[in-house]
Symmetry: C2
Subunit: 111 residues, 2 copies
DNA sequence: ACTCTATATTACTATATCGGGATATAGTAT
DNA sequence: ATACTATATCCCGATATAGTAATATAGAGT
């Protein structure tokens, strides 16, 4: 039988940093917004309500991590999500949270 | 057609905090170790190499988040993973990292 | 060259949190 | 009660990072 693989510290750090990337609400908001279509920074500023410097910084982090791509178009820079596993992760978390809430509601209405 | 649901800020924070929970290598190590079987704190200290205070603190965080359960047994306290979606998340990240590396290796051998 | 616009970067402050030592608490045994 | 063991908690130094104002850079148009 296949023994569960042992994870060395370097692997754990890589996995952890992946999660850390997703651990900021503003970054999730950006990714969620970008999920619909490619957008430039100004559009993201308008869509999220955050200021330009903040958006730009988060985009830089996401770009470094290889989650979004960057494309110059005249004066503007357009960003796009290139790593779809991001959404897969969010879906797993969302359904878990949802079922957790459903259980709570059941317990409350039951008592 | 089904429009992609809008996420409000509270939801984003809940999802983000879920990821933040997983963003510490030591917590991942604990969860990975606990994944095999129920263990008490001392066993986890031995298995991970971290000190007792640190393990205990992380276990408290995981417990608060509802990821592990706690069961007193005489002098010791036994912990167990109760949220299996944790491993689902790790699997998604792992395979993403793996395929990323495979692409890199291919690109290198190709050049 | 100058101006305007869009984006990136720098410098700073405030906050959060990890790891660890010291201590507290709770259960067991003598 | 005392001693011992296992775990939790408190406190602190060190580090990291979010958000923001100010500044820099780059491209387009005059």
């Amino acid at each position: 039988m296949a023994k569960k693989k042992d994870l060395n510290d370097a692997s754990l750090e890589m996995i952890a940093s992946r999660f850390k990337l997703m651990s900021e609400p503003m970054r999730l908001k950006i990714l969620h917004t970008l999920g619909e279509r490619e957008m430039n920074v100004s559009e993201l500023v308008a869509a999220t309500g955050a200021n330009q410097a903040n958006i730009s910084k988060h985009l830089g982090i996401l770009y470094e991590a290889g989650v979004v791509s960057r494309r110059k178009e005249g004066l503007t820079v357009r960003y796009r999500v290139t790593d779809e596993t991001i959404f897969e992760l969010c879906d797993v978390v969302c359904s878990r949270l949802k079922s957790h809430f459903d259980l709570r509601r059941f317990a409350l209405s039951d008592g």
